[in-house]
Structures are given as C-alpha cells and as structure tokens.
C-alpha cells in the first residue's frame, strides 16, 4: 500500500524533522544558557572573607565556669566560656556577646548561670538560647563560633577581614 508507506515515510521524516528541531533548540539553550551562567557567576560579588582559626588562650588559663572576652580581628566581641573541667573542645563555648535583639552587649552572670542583656532584660542560657525578654519572644539565640583545641591551646574560627587597599 503505497499511500501508507508514503505516509509512514512522511511521518518518519516529520518525526526526524521535529527531533532535529528539538535537538537544535535544546543545544542552543544549553550552550548559551551556560554562557549566561558563567556571566552571572562573574557578576556575583566575591566572597568577602576568608575564615581561619586564631589563637585565643592556653587552656590552662581558663578555669571551669570562667568566661573571657575575646575580640575578633574585625572587632566583634565574643564570650569564651569554659563550662566543664575537662580538656576537650566540648567543654568550651564561644558565643557572640552581641544580643540578637537590638545589638547591645550581653554579659555572663556566673551567679545566675546565664547571659544577661541589660537593655531590655534579655536572658540567655549558658548555651546562648534566649529564655526571657524580647530575644526569647523572637526565638533567637546568641550566634556561636567554632572552636578547636591543639596542644593545649584554644583556637576560634573567625572571618579574616580583607587587607586594606593600598594606594599606588
């Protein structure tokens, strides 16, 4: 039946035609789309900071239950507390001392075993979770900094600010 064959050949040809069309369209989109992605990546601002572990103190100097104020190179204040008497990194905690509510400085109250913010009476657990005051209402907590211990020395991971631009 020549008509059926002819129409089969025709439908085959039109399928191939459509396939060629899709292939062309798809590969054009893929290629130029990739180029657009490259351009977008180029435009995205460079990561502003490197992070690195910096020296805080030797483990022996901080007693159990004691807290020490460390200032990061970019000026952010951090409360470094030793909770347990052990020497492993889990016994230490580094919490930002900036209250997440409106940015006042919190301080550690050893007698009450809590962090206290004097601006609006915000209270935080030793782990930095807010339990009273506006920060608690918003479900906030003090942000934490990673720590590590090497050779009896305590290190904190902070962002290293980029070097100042030199004028030449």
């Amino acid at each position: 039946m020549p008509e059926v064959e002819k129409s089969n050949a025709e439908s085959r040809r039109s399928t191939l035609k459509r396939l060629a069309g899709y292939l062309m369209g798809g590969s054009l989109v893929a290629a130029y789309g990739n180029l657009a992605a490259v351009m977008a990546r180029y435009l995205y601002p460079a990561r502003p900071e490197q992070r690195s572990f910096l020296f805080v103190t030797d483990v022996a100097s901080l007693g159990a239950g004691e807290s020490s104020l460390y200032t990061t190179p970019s000026g952010a204040p951090v409360n470094v507390t030793r909770r347990g008497a052990g020497d492993s990194v889990e016994d230490f905690l580094a919490l930002s001392s900036v209250c997440p509510h409106l940015g006042c400085q919190v301080h550690w109250e050893p007698q009450n075993d809590r962090f206290f913010c004097p601006c609006h009476n915000g209270v935080f657990t030793p782990e930095g979770v807010a339990t009273e005051g506006p920060p608690a209402d918003a479900g906030q907590s003090l942000s934490q900094f990673p720590l590590k211990i090497e050779n009896g020395l305590l290190f904190i991971e902070v962002a290293i600010p980029p070097p100042e631009e030199s004028e030449t």
Partner: protein
C-alpha cells in the same frame, strides 16, 4: 544545505560551544584550587595587638613584616601575647596602655610551648650560660678585658671616651653565643640581675629591695644594661630565673622553623677553632649532599620528618633534634638525648647521665649503675635510629667503633697524660695560681680546648681533615713540640732555683709517660719504623730516600 541539515549542524556546533564552556569552567575551578593553595590566608591582626602593629608598622616596619610571615601571625598570636608582662615583673612597664616587657624569655614562650620549654631547660644548651664561671670566662673578662673600667691612655680623635669597658669582649664575644646574665641598670650605677631579684617558681621577683633599685627612664621603662642586652645567647640567664633564649635558634620575629632546620643556623655558634662543627659538617659527605640537594629537602614542611618529608641528607637538626620515622616523628629540644660521648672536657666522658641530667663520673661500675638514669648506650641507640635510615647496622656499628677508638686514643695518649703533666706542675707549685699567665697554660689550653676538640668533633661527624690535620696532627705537635719541652723547661728552672724535689717529681711524671710504648718513639727513636718504611718504598718504587 537543507533546513534539517542546517538544524543538525547548529545542534552539533552548539554542543561544541557547550564543551568549550565546560572546559573554561574546569580551568576556572582548577585556578581557584591553585590560588587557595598558593595564597597565604590574610593575616588578621589580633585585636589586642592592633595598636602595636599600627604604630610599629611605621617605626619598625621590618618587625611587623617579619611577624606577618610567621605562623604566629596566621594563628592569631600577636605582639601582646608574647610581650605581655605581669604585675610585679622586674622588667615590666606600661607602654601605650599595655604592661609589656622587652625581653621575651623561654618562660614566656612556655605559656604555649610547655613541652619544648621543659626539654630545652634540661638540655646543655640551656646550661650554656654556665660558662660565666669557667676558664673561658676568665679569658674574656680578665685576659682579654678587665673586670673593672679603666681610663683611656690617650684621646680618641672624634669620640669622647670616658672609661674603657673591660667587659666588652665578654659581652660581645662569648656571651653572644653562650648567653649573658640579663641586667637592669640600678639607681646606684650598678646592675640588678636574677641573682639580686631572686625570682620564685613563677618568675616573679621576691626581693623587693632589689626591685626598688631598678633604674627607670622618664616613661617608667626599666633601663636594660647595654652590655647584657641585646643578647640572644642560648644560655641567657633571664630576669625571671629561666635560662635560655628561644630566639637563639628561632630567629624573631618570624620564628622560622625552616631556618632552624638548616646547618647555617646552628653554625652561628657551633663553629670556630674550638668547636668547628659547621666546618666539619660542610667537609663531610652529609654536608656535601645537603649543599647539593637542599632545595628538594622540603624545608618548609610543617613537621619535618626524616624518611617522610626528606631523605637526601641529614642536617644538624636531623641527627640531633628532628623527628624521624623510627621515633614517630618526635622532635626533641634536648640534643643531649642522642649524644654518647661528651667531647667538651679535656678528657672525653661517656654520657651516662643521672636524674639531674648530669654526667655520672663515678668509676665503680656498681655505683655507676645505681646513679645512671639514661645510659650512653641508650643515647647512642637514639642516634642510630637516625643513621639507620640510610646506613645498615654493620656500617653504623663499625663507624661507632672507629669513633670510640679515636676518642680513646686521644684520651689515653694525649689528654690524660697532658692532664697529668699539668697536675704535677700545679701540685709541685711550679705554676702560679693565675691562669694564662704562663706559656704552658696556653699550650695546654690549645691542646685540649682547641685542637683536641677539633679532632674529636671531626671524628664524630666524619670529617677526616679535621680529625687528622686540623686535629690529631696538631694535638701531637702541641704535645711533643710544646707541652713536653715547656714542662721540662719549667722543671729545669725549678731545679736551678733549688726546688730539686719538685723538679724531679715533674720529670718523673713526664718520663713515665714517655716511656710508654705509644710514646717510646719520641725519646728512644723509631729507627725500626723508619727502616721498615725505607725498605717498603725500595720494594715498591725502587727509591732509597
């Protein structure tokens, strides 16, 4: 070309374009990885040291540059962390709002480097300051200088000279390697040292009176005595009672471990006519290999372990301090741990040490066993651990046999006899009590302190020229051509003065020594030996000379 063909062509080309973009992206990723590896993390100045860096970046920019290149800087250890002083420190002063001290002692470093401090403190390096009570000190302070200031004898054109500082040779010579006794100027014009301050176990002075005598400038800064500071001698006696200076080997302010691994670092002090370890190393095959291959020896590695990070050649550090595969890569800051002979004294001593790390001198074997905590053999094994990375046991043991034989030869043929001769002269009262005022005292000093040491150090580190020509040859010459004749001369003089018994006693000692088989050639002639040599030469070469 039909439309369909064109569509296919477009598709193929677009895929090629996509592939080229993928290549571009992989290049970018590789570039990023490389960058992260090559570029050092920016140095962040710790908040506490911000002011220091800002001001000293202008006034002494080199110090800040050095520090920025150090591991301290990349881990956030800044100026204040090392220079901080405590209330009550003798040399602490308020400097732009911070209590600091100029001199950083091993005790300060021990705040973070506790184990190293302990090892170093019991090592012979930390004891280098003990020279201040020795012959060498006498040489520097009295023979070369003067223990009191004295007036100049004529003007120095262009400079107003009040007094001559008799300690200058000691301050600038011996003490720059061995360490000074750090002193603050006192209000009465003298010095205040650790001896006066009597620091406690934590380094704080206990003698308030001495503390009160410390002279301070208009800013309240204690004035360091210029003779004793600057000084980074490795045995420095610090004001807080600690001994040593870490910056002797780990130069400040970059505290480079890389530098401490290189022989040139040790060579600042371990060189010269009386202990030419640097020159000996350079002569030896170890030194030759090092000079050739140092660029490939991974000097910048974090932990520099022999057998893992490098194996081309050992340096001073490799044998005496650094970690290797056989000891789990453990560094020691006590080089004495691996040394089996002490070649410092006139007569070399076997390094069995007691609990105070002092050499056991007892002769009774049972007594030695009782006192010895760490035997010389144990020390030697630790050293052999290093050798065995490149040398087989037979090789190493035979070398040590060569070494032992040589040291014993020196001890028995020249050192002990020399000592005996000098002792008898002293006993018989033929020498004045003052050292170095008679020629023979210099002769003897040269023999054991210079030439004898050269010979022993040379053999210990495989440098034949130092062992022989700069070593034993000169020892022999000094002994036969100078020491013996001078001793005989003194005896003869004594005899002429009427001290016959003394003269006879001395001569008896000398005769006894020279009668021994190893010395017999000297006075009885060695004609047979000469004869044998002549015959051998005739046989071999047809010569008769």
């Amino acid at each position: 070309m039909t439309l369909d063909q064109k569509r296919i062509v477009i598709a193929v080309l677009a895929i090629f374009f996509l592939l080229s973009l993928i290549l571009v992206q992989s290049i970018e990723v590789a570039r990023r990885y490389e960058e992260v590896g090559l570029v050092r993390a920016n140095v962040a100045v710790p908040a506490t040291s911000r002011n220091c860096v800002d001001c000293h970046g202008q006034s002494t920019p080199g110090i800040i540059d050095h520090w920025k290149g150090s591991t301290h800087a990349s881990t956030g250890v800044g100026c204040v962390d090392c220079h901080q002083a405590r209330d009550g420190d003798a040399d602490g002063f308020l400097h732009y709002g911070r209590l600091i001290a100029t001199v950083v002692t091993p005790r300060d470093c021990s705040r973070c480097h506790q184990q190293v401090f302990e090892e170093f403190s019991r090592s012979h390096h930390a004891a280098a300051g003990n020279i201040l009570a020795s012959l060498d000190n006498f040489l520097a302070e009295t023979v070369e200088g003067a223990r009191m200031p004295f007036d100049p004898h004529s003007p120095t054109p262009g400079m107003a000279v009040d007094q001559v500082n008799g300690f200058a040779s000691a301050f600038s010579g011996c003490q720059q390697c061995h360490g000074s006794k750090v002193a603050l100027r006192s209000t009465s014009g003298g010095m205040v040292t650790a001896d006066d301050l009597a620091p406690d176990a934590n380094g704080l002075p206990t003698n308030a009176e001495a503390l009160g005598r410390v002279l301070r400038d208009e800013n309240g800064k204690p004035v360091l005595h210029s003779g004793t500071w600057p000084n980074t001698g490795i045995g420095r006696l610090n004001l807080d009672g600690s001994r040593g200076s870490c910056s002797a080997c780990h130069s400040r302010h970059d505290f480079s471990p890389r530098r401490a691994r290189q022989p040139e670092n040790c060579g600042k002090c371990h060189l010269g006519p009386d202990h030419p370890q640097k020159e000996i190393y350079e002569e030896s095959k170890h030194g030759v290999a090092y000079r050739d291959l140092r660029e490939q020896m991974n000097l910048d590695a974090r932990d520099w372990v022999l057998g893992r990070d490098y194996s081309q050649a050992p340096t001073c550090a490799s044998c005496h301090m650094s970690g290797n595969l056989r000891n789990d890569g453990r560094i020691t800051h006590d080089p004495g741990e691996r040394i089996s002979w002490s070649n410092r004294p006139p007569v070399s001593l076997v390094m069995d040490t007691d609990q105070n790390h002092a050499i056991v001198t007892a002769t009774d074997p049972a007594e030695r066993r009782r006192l010895t905590v760490d035997t010389a053999e144990a020390k030697r094994s630790r050293m052999k651990n290093v050798c065995s990375h490149c040398h087989t046991p037979d090789y190493v043991n035979s070398f040590y046999r060569q070494y032992d034989d040589f040291v014993i030869l020196y001890n028995e043929k020249f050192a002990k006899p020399g000592q005996a001769i000098m002792a008898s002269l002293e006993q018989q009262g033929l020498l004045t009590p003052t050292q170095f005022d008679e020629k023979i005292e210099w002769t003897w000093f040269y023999l054991w302190h210079h030439e004898g040491r050269r010979a022993r150090h040379g053999v210990s580190m495989m440098a034949p020229d130092y062992t022989h020509w700069h070593g034993m040859f000169e020892v022999a010459e000094r002994f036969y051509a100078e020491l013996v004749p001078e001793a005989r001369h003194l005896a003869a003089e004594a005899g002429a003065r009427g001290q016959g018994a003394a003269a006879r006693a001395v001569n008896q000692v000398i005769d006894g020594i020279l009668a021994r088989p190893e010395h017999a050639w000297f006075e009885q002639g060695a004609d047979e030996a000469a004869q044998r040599i002549r015959e051998a030469m005739r046989e071999k070469y047809g010569q008769t000379r």
